[in-house]
């Protein structure tokens, strides 16, 4: 069985890398190549196990990281050379380029957060509808021919919508019915939580299930969390995770 579900948790390889750096308390200005590469590859492996549709960008980044790692494992040559050679070498440090990209991406990721706040702030302000002034103009000789718009403007407008509408439509879409759908599993999980004490160990959701079912369960849990229908608790590091209904 093949699932074409895009994992929404990360926005791309840069986002994933940022996350790994933060989680492991690494210095963004001095990333240990071997460590970050191993961690990254681990995620890619998991995505593969999940048979998730791994976007090509993740794979390109994987290749870059592997290259970076191997070049760092090689004996450092610059020690044997003159200063100018060192400079050159430093400029070509692939970590440098990655660091710059990560920092740049992080700036905009934070800016996106600020925009979200602005939008939420604005959404707390309400206004009133435009007043209906037609009564006022009906008293007068109505002179709508003042409106400076032609038929062509209207046709232009229409063709713009059509092209926009086209843009909104998915380029392609394959809908296939799975024998066991994420929706069904979501409902089941909510049911389980609703019947019992409202809290269930994470592992319990996976017991006695085939691999495809485990994958579906995992995705269902992610979906439920995304829609804030469930939450999870973990008392301390490595403790069992408890899933609860919100």
């Amino acid at each position: 069985m093949q699932y074409s579900v895009k994992l929404q948790a990360f926005e791309g390889p840069l986002d994933l890398l940022l996350h790994l750096i933060q989680k492991n308390d690494l210095d963004i200005y001095d990333i240990p190549a071997a460590e970050i590469t191993d961690q990254y590859m681990n995620y890619i492996k998991t995505m593969k196990v999940l048979q998730l549709d791994i976007a090509s960008e993740y794979l390109v980044m994987a290749a870059t990281l592997l290259e970076m790692k191997s070049s760092h494992l090689l004996p450092r040559q610059e020690d044997d050379f003159e200063d100018d050679e060192m400079l050159l070498d430093e400029e070509e440090d692939p970590r440098d380029d990655l660091m710059k990209r990560l920092i740049e991406y992080k700036r905009y990721k934070e800016a996106a957060g600020h925009l979200r706040e602005k939008e939420v702030e604005r959404s707390r302000l309400f206004s009133k509808p435009v007043s209906n002034l037609s009564a006022l103009s009906e008293e007068e000789e109505r002179d709508v021919s003042e409106v400076d718009v032609t038929l062509y403007d209207m046709l232009d407008a229409f063709s713009r919508i059509s092209s926009r509408k086209k843009e909104r439509e998915p380029v392609y879409s394959t809908v296939r019915r799975d024998e066991y759908s994420i929706d069904e599993r979501m409902t089941e999980i909510v049911d389980v939580l609703g019947k019992g004490p409202g809290r269930v160990p994470f592992e319990a959701l996976f017991e006695e299930r085939s691999r495809p079912q485990k994958v579906i369960t995992f995705l269902a849990v992610l979906e439920l969390m995304k829609s804030k229908m469930i939450g999870c608790d973990q008392e301390g590091n490595f403790d069992s995770i408890v899933v609860y209904q919100t």
């Binding site: 593969k48 791994i54 090509s56 794979l59 309400f126 206004s127 009133k128 509808p129 435009v130 007043s131 209906n132 002034l133 037609s134 006022l136 103009s137 007068e140 109505r142 002179d143 709508v144 021919s145 003042e146 409106v147 400076d148 718009v149 032609t150 038929l151 403007d153 209207m154 046709l155 232009d156 407008a157 229409f158 063709s159 713009r160 919508i161 059509s162 092209s163 926009r164 509408k165 086209k166 909104r168 380029v171 392609y172």
Partner: protein, 196 residues
């Protein structure tokens, strides 16, 4: 709630409720206060509005309170309707007008479906400019308002009747290279997926 704060919230509530206004009972419900204190709030607000040079006032009619403009400023509102500044239509209004002209009678939901964005505002603008009007109600649940064009619309666009509208532009078929690109990436991925 203090009277001062209530006064402010009442002002906001009357403002958003616009031409419909609100009665005291509704106000009390939304505020979660009893009628007596709401009355105090209204009194305080009315006193505020009677001071200084204001452009809006509180009007109580048939048990409903609403904010309205003042009669002495009417000439300016007339000018607003006829103002050349409001002569051009926004892209949003034009799009909405096009959909209504070609699909009438049509509901707001249908318009929003085609445009992909909320369209309440352009509909109001067009109503205000007398280019569209309500043209009945849809059948079935909800009985949504249907919109159609006005005689003023025809006049404005120099049409004798709605049948004289030029045919709609066909969807310019731009088969993009999108599909191919995706195919390429899928292949690319397969390459990686193969055990190495």
């Amino acid at each position: 709630m203090k009277t001062d704060e209530m006064k402010a919230v009442i002002e906001g509530l009357l403002f958003v409720s616009g031409e419909e206004g609100m009665d005291k009972k509704q106000l009390a419900e939304v505020l979660g206060e009893d009628l007596e204190s709401v009355n105090k709030g209204i009194e305080a607000l009315t006193a505020d509005y009677s001071e200084g040079n204001r452009g809006i006032q509180i009007l109580e009619a048939g048990g409903t309170l609403q904010l309205t403009t003042k009669a002495e400023h009417a000439p300016y509102f007339k000018k607003l309707v006829q103002s050349p500044a409001s002569a051009t239509l926004s892209q949003a209004a034009l799009e909405t007008l096009a959909i209504i002209a070609y699909r009438q009678p049509v509901s707001r939901v249908e318009i929003e479906d085609v445009r992909g964005v909320k369209s309440e505002r352009p509909i109001r603008t067009l109503m205000g400019k007398l280019l569209i009007r309500e043209a009945g109600r849809a059948e079935g649940t909800g009985r949504a308002i249907l919109y159609g064009t006005t005689p003023e619309f025809l006049e404005q666009f120099g049409l004798r009747s709605i049948e004289e509208l030029p045919p709609l532009p066909e969807n310019p078929d731009t088969e993009d290279a999108e599909g191919e690109a995706d195919l390429f990436f899928e292949r690319f991925q397969e390459q990686f997926d193969e055990p190495s």
